[in-house]
Symmetry: none
Subunit: 416 residues, 2 copies
């Protein structure tokens, strides 16, 4: 059976172009992946009558409408009221949600205001969609024709798990949707999009289901394999041989599958090899440490690091020689190597990694332009160093240098 | 006079979530800034009947519709046909556009195909919107009521100049729009959306122009003041008194105006007060340093920091007493205070800030649950400490703890 829906994003800021509506893209992707057809999407302001009119019109065209946003506690959060108008329902207090919210505020040591209470109200007879990440519950309400409006919060971190764990399973169950698309991501690093195309072009052309796509990000590319089948197991069987072939062709560049981040892949490799890591950062300013400490369990292999922004800190905390800084400067191969060794020795780890460069916008010279970054990895046996010049603004340079450092570290670990 | 429009983005890929619709955001921004009200936006697939139905419905609600996409040469480019259906018009060949296209292809040394010819056709009686960057012209067509549909290509590089140089001037001229909107942002931290709503609710309700809105992010909120006036100066005059009143009511929580980040506000305050900063991070794992080093010029006031993930690093690099760790543990007020002092003393700065907590998912206990974070700031005179328990997953806890640390640091600096 098929299910046809429209999406409605609520928020005046969307109509003013002050916020990019990433929710609609995410919901559309997830629904498509789960065999649910999206026939149209809409954004409407915080206006009760217009939201209700948009919902009514959509319900004439499709089986159901999914809304994001407008469930907050403020006076201009009106989605719930508009849904009731459109479906001819009253709201009622949902006690379990109210209790959950009271516990939430208690745990934050904050007092719950009266206007938060409103968030625990849902249309009479609606099913609650739980919000494991926040206060406001979502809900799905039906009209007498059996058509539905499902409403979720606009905060992506709250909406995404609600969609994946509650709304999509509920809709697939209720509408008996069997087919689904299973997607396998292979994450590569330090390999260009055109190089990947070149290596897998024939597979790319040969295969319709599973379908292959290459997505390029900041300094890394994902190869996406999508298989449409009636069960996940069947889809995995279709994906497996293609995945093996692609892994073989991209050998040494695929650092992780599916949702594993490069940081998680590094933490996993360090744990597998029983080694510990310390970071010494200048231009990346803590981003490298952040990428690693973002991984649960990182503390077992990552002991710590130094953000050595000032030369005095490079000398005092990492033991970089004053002579080195005088002779070749802070942005140099020797400084990077001494920082990496210093981090390893001072923090007593197996491996030290260092970054030093010019993030800009100022500080560049003809010999050392903005974007020049030196990297070093010291394992106590064979110190290695690299330099690259990154383009873009300060943020882009810091992000790309961090991605590169992670990629270099992963490759060194992968081969060790 | 006012002009009310809706936007329609055409393309099946938008409904599959394969493409983020940046056109709608851009058009909405430009129209808002030029005093043209957007009442709703829509995305619809490459389906002639659905595009036409969407246009007809919108024209019942507003003065005009602006579409992007679906003007290309392929069989699934159907916007023009749908516009003709909606307005009851035929298409006609626009000779000047045909010649321009022929010249364009000639200049590219490419032969123009028959299907490109179709791009030179426009609804009978429509005005052409020139396309200085590509082949397909845009157009604006009117129905007998004087309502319009304006269609532009979906390629942003072609759409943006067509909008700025042709469509917006034409609309402002035709509808005699003198007004433009000026927006002021006030960035607050450590104050909940509902608390802000509570404090300014009356202003919120009282004022239509300037209009007030509250936008919530990760642990911080922006208050937005939008004034519609015939000049920027006039708008600023309307904003000023309201801004003063809101600043008074949110005193101690507004860290910046317009585009300044909390990190930039901290770097500015440090520079103004001639003070230097060092960070000592456990659970925030480098995110605090990252937020500060993201600011151009941070190196003048931020000397560096230590990511002290392992206790040995807290002891060795920050001088935390082994006895402290044995007696009260790493996640404690005493450890936070010793880390902050250690950072200040070791890195020889005026101020040291420290974070130590349990980011999870594991490591929590009944006394010290996941999410508990201690913060300390040491200025060599009056060390201060705070503790909060944050909710959410590891990433949320790390992000919220970082935002809280920045907020605490900003408040301490603001009062010093």
């Amino acid at each position: 059976m098929s299910l046809r829906v429209e999406l409605v994003a609520v928020g005046t800021e969307l109509l003013l172009g002050q916020l990019t509506d990433t929710n609609t893209v995410h919901v559309a992707q997830q629904l498509a992946g789960n065999g649910i057809d999206v026939l149209g999407t809409h954004a409407v302001g915080d206006n009760r009558a217009r939201i209700a009119a948009t919902l009514r019109a959509a319900l004439e065209r499709v089986d159901g409408v999914i809304t994001t946003g407008g469930l907050g506690p403020t006076v201009d959060d009106l989605t719930k009221e508009a849904v009731c108008d459109a479906l001819g329902l009253e709201t009622e207090l949902h006690e379990p949600s109210l209790r959950q919210m009271q516990e939430f505020f208690a745990s934050m040591g904050r007092e719950m205001r009266e206007n938060n209470r409103k968030q625990a109200e849902i249309p009479r007879g609606a099913h609650v969609l739980e919000n494991p990440r926040g206060t406001a519950p979502g809900f799905i309400a039906f009209d007498e024709r059996g058509k539905f409006v499902a409403s979720m919060p606009g905060v992506p971190r709250e909406m995404k798990p609600m969609l994946a764990e509650y709304l999509i399973p509920l809709l697939r169950e209720r509408y008996g949707i069997a087919e689904a698309i299973t997607t396998r991501y292979l994450h590569t690093i330090n390999l260009g999009e055109s190089e990947i195309d070149h290596r897998i072009d024939d597979l790319f052309r040969a295969s319709e289901n599973p379908k292959i796509a290459v997505l390029a990000h900041e300094g890394q590319c994902d190869v996406k394999i999508m298989a449409k089948a009636s069960s996940r197991a069947a889809a995995e069987e279709m994906i497996a041989p293609l995945e093996r072939e692609i892994l073989a062709r991209l050998e040494g560049f695929v650092y992780a599958r599916d949702n594993e981040s490069i940081g998680a892949a590094i933490v996993r490799l360090l744990a597998e090899r029983g080694r510990t890591l310390a970071t010494a950062e200048s231009c990346t300013g803590g981003r490298l440490a952040s990428a690693i400490t973002a991984v649960p369990g990182a503390s077992a292999v990552y002991l710590g690091g130094v953000v050595a922004y000032d030369n005095a800190v490079k000398i005092g905390e990492l033991g970089v020689a004053e002579q080195t800084l005088e002779e070749v400067g802070a942005v140099s191969e020797r400084t990077a190597l001494e920082m990496a060794r210093g981090a390893r020795e001072r923090l007593r780890t197996a491996i030290g990694i260092a970054t030093t460069g010019i993030a800009g916008p100022s500080g560049g010279t003809p010999e050392k332009p903005v974007g020049l970054v030196w990297f070093a990895i010291d394992d106590g046996k064979q110190p290695q160093s690299w330099s690259f010049t990154f383009r873009g603004d300060r943020d882009a340079i810091q992000r790309r240098a961090t991605t590169m450092a992670l990629g270099l570290l992963w490759r060194v670990l992968d081969r060790s």
